[in-house]
């Protein structure tokens, strides 16, 4: 049976066999393979799909998802999970709409800053109170939704001045939508900072083995709070993107982005157990998810299947990428 539990620590050989590396290699290419396969399948289903216009539309749609997933990936890499991103993003759209008349052009930065600060608070609650991250962020989810409902009076707030978000609707070089360009910059910036500083070591060590990381003097708590901060700030940026597209802020605007974001992360091949993965993977994952979303109607599948697909994908992708050697008892 599948209950790998013994009270006594087993002493298994640690000399890694090659099977694991084959599996690793497969999972590391899985998102790219999925992306190419999807593109090919959609092109076969609708030969008109592979045009610049529809591809532009796809990447534009994907931008908020990419940003959300990128931020939350950091938390997952540290071994936690952030379930509050979508609710925080919704709240941020409301805040944006409310602050815009007063702050004007500064609103974007202010909203990102505020969302980042909220993320920090969640991170601090997680590390100081030692509450599991999914409970903290589940609580955050409820609280942010409530705040958003109350301050918006449960309805959308229209945005009259569109100058502040207009820049996001432009195209770089006439082709690449600005929102996707910004998303790419965010992904690249996070990836670069991780790669060029000790942060990558710290994040992976924290995710792979928190106790070993702590006993090696890694600033585990700081790293985690930082991850939640970036995750929050990304939710804020995603909110600005949503507002620029919808010309309004609404307390439930981003709520349906939670599952796609989590799916994007795990489809990208980042292990939910922490440590293994990268921001780039989540970018690919987000593109896969967006293609699925856009592509289902093209293939003739009712969009109601979208949810079922997300559910199945999440479970399957987690099952494939999970580091089982780490957890003897799966709860």
């Amino acid at each position: 049976m599948s209950t790998p539990v013994t009270a006594i620590p087993t002493t298994e050989p640690v000399v890694v066999n090659n099977r694991a590396t084959v599996k690793q290699r497969l999972t590391s290419f899985m998102p790219l393979i999925a992306l190419v396969t999807l593109l090919a399948a959609l092109t076969i289903a609708d030969p008109g799909f592979l045009t610049q216009r529809s591809l532009t539309a796809v990447v534009q749609t994907s931008a908020p998802l990419v940003v959300l997933a990128a931020g939350a990936t950091l938390v997952v890499l540290c071994g936690g999970i952030d379930l509050s991103i979508a609710a925080l993003c919704s709240l941020s759209t409301v805040i944006f709409a409310l602050w815009l008349p007063d702050l004007g052009g500064l609103t974007t930065l202010a909203v990102i800053g505020a969302a980042g600060a909220i993320g920090t608070v969640q991170g601090i609650a997680h590390v100081l109170l030692r509450i599991p991250s999914f409970i903290v962020t589940l609580g955050g989810l409820s609280i942010f939704s409530a705040i958003a409902l109350v301050i918006s009076d449960a309805g959308p707030i229209r945005i009259v001045e569109r100058e502040a978000t207009n820049w996001l609707t432009l195209y770089v070089g006439g082709i690449v939508p600005m929102s996707f360009f910004v998303a790419m910059i965010v992904v690249a910036a996070i990836a670069l900072v991780l790669k060029l500083t000790p942060l990558h070591s710290w994040v992976s060590a924290t995710g792979y083995s928190e106790s070993a990381a702590r006993l090696a003097g890694t600033p585990v708590d700081l790293v985690k709070v930082g991850a939640f901060t970036v995750s929050g700030a990304c939710a804020g940026l995603a909110a600005v993107m949503l507002v620029s597209r919808n010309f309004s802020g609404s307390p439930t605007m981003a709520d349906n982005l939670l599952l796609p974001a989590v799916a994007a992360i795990v489809v990208g091949g980042t292990a939910i157990t922490g440590g293994h993965g990268s921001i780039w993977r989540s970018l690919v994952g987000a593109l896969v998810i967006t293609l699925l979303r856009v592509g289902l109607p093209i293939v003739g599948v009712p969009s109601a299947y979208e949810q079922i697909l997300y559910g199945a994908i999440i479970v399957a992708a987690v099952a494939l990428t999970l580091d089982r050697s780490k957890v003897l008892i799966i709860k």
Partner: protein
């Protein structure tokens, strides 16, 4: 790497002698006391609150949450988590609306329809359990996935036209009263009783409790825990299914969103009632008190003029505070928190 004497590894842990607990702990006595205090405070604050009608209202409101919480309590007792209630409830709410007499088709299965909806829900719950046990995916992920699948099924069945029920039996559940309480309230009470019996007198309930206490010991004693885990998730799914049916009865219509927010509300109720998220502590009666606490609190806040939109926010604060209160005394320096 291997060690020749791994049992020595635990010498430090074994050396710390756990002290026995005695008497009724604060965790057991606290929630009922808090319930009474909160009730008293709101009674003093609001004349509308202390009416008999409002008490009936509170219990009627608590009914659905109580049934959901019955299900989730068993999962939490094992130390797992279940976020699948919204999806499963949505699926069963639509399913039952389409199976009993309604405006969309000619079905009029009555109680059999209710049974089928509950079975569908149990099957979804079983899927969560299977994914947990066979694929070894942590429960919060499997149930998140199953929730999405349930919502998808519900959306498919919904097919753009809201099914309104015309079945008098199901409609009467929410309307007719027995001894002053609606049938739904009695159903909820029966569920709590059933849950308590399962927890106290069935192997399933006791093992669920034991899995939360020391899963590895069960395996060491030759108990295969996997079937029990699957059974617990199935049982929980059945409870969610019934709750979905109850929502349909309340609304006289099947809604995809029937279960929205119930996952979190139920976790909150269970945790506030004294069930530990790490498992092995608490139970149905604890959870029932937690449900009343949450319902009284939200009802009272509305009665004293707080916006109903705050409901979720209050729950969020409560659950974080309750978990923190349970965790802080056991904090260790080099503790791993995921």
């Amino acid at each position: 790497m291997s060690t020749a004497s791994p049992a020595e590894d635990v010498e430090v842990a074994a050396a710390r002698r756990p002290q026995p607990r005695r008497g009724v702990s604060f965790r057991d006595a606290g929630p009922p006391i808090a319930l009474i205090v909160i009730f008293a405070v709101f009674s003093a604050l609001s004349p509308d609150f202390r009416t008999l009608g409002n008490v009936q209202n509170i219990l009627d409101t608590a009914a659905v949450l109580a049934v959901v919480t019955c299900g989730i309590t068993f999962v939490l007792m094992m130390g797992s988590i279940d976020l699948s209630a919204p999806g499963i409830m949505g699926a069963s709410a639509i399913a039952v609306a389409l199976l009993v007499a309604n405006n969309r088709n000619d079905n009029a299965l009555g109680l059999v329809g209710v049974l089928i909806a509950v079975l569908l829900a149990a099957a979804l719950g079983c899927l969560s359990g299977l994914a947990l046990v066979l694929l070894k995916v942590p429960s919060f992920m499997t149930t998140l996935g199953i929730s999405a699948i349930g919502l998808g099924l519900a959306t498919l069945m919904f097919a753009g036209v809201q099914p309104n029920i015309t079945d008098t039996m199901l409609e009467s559940w929410a309307v007719d009263r027995l001894l002053g309480f609606s049938y739904l309230t009695w159903i909820a009470a029966a569920c709590v009783l059933l849950g308590w019996l399962i927890q106290r007198y069935s192997r399933l309930g006791r093992y669920a409790f034991a899995i939360g206490g020391a899963e590895e010991v069960l395996s060491l004693s030759g108990v295969k825990v996997a079937p029990y885990k699957i059974a617990v998730f199935t049982l929980a799914g059945a409870f969610y299914g019934l709750a979905g049916v109850m929502v349909t009865s309340q609304l006289s219509a099947g809604l995809v969103q029937a279960g929205k927010g119930f996952d979190f509300a139920a976790i909150t109720a269970a945790v506030v009632g004294g069930t530990l998220l790490t498992g092995g502590r608490g139970g149905i009666l604890h959870s029932a008190v937690g449900v009343l606490l949450i319902t009284v609190l939200t009802n009272g806040l509305v009665q004293v003029g707080v916006s109903p939109y705050w409901q979720g926010g209050v729950q969020g604060l409560i659950v974080v505070a309750a978990v923190a209160a349970a965790v802080i005394p056991q904090r260790r320096r080099n503790q791993v928190t995921k």
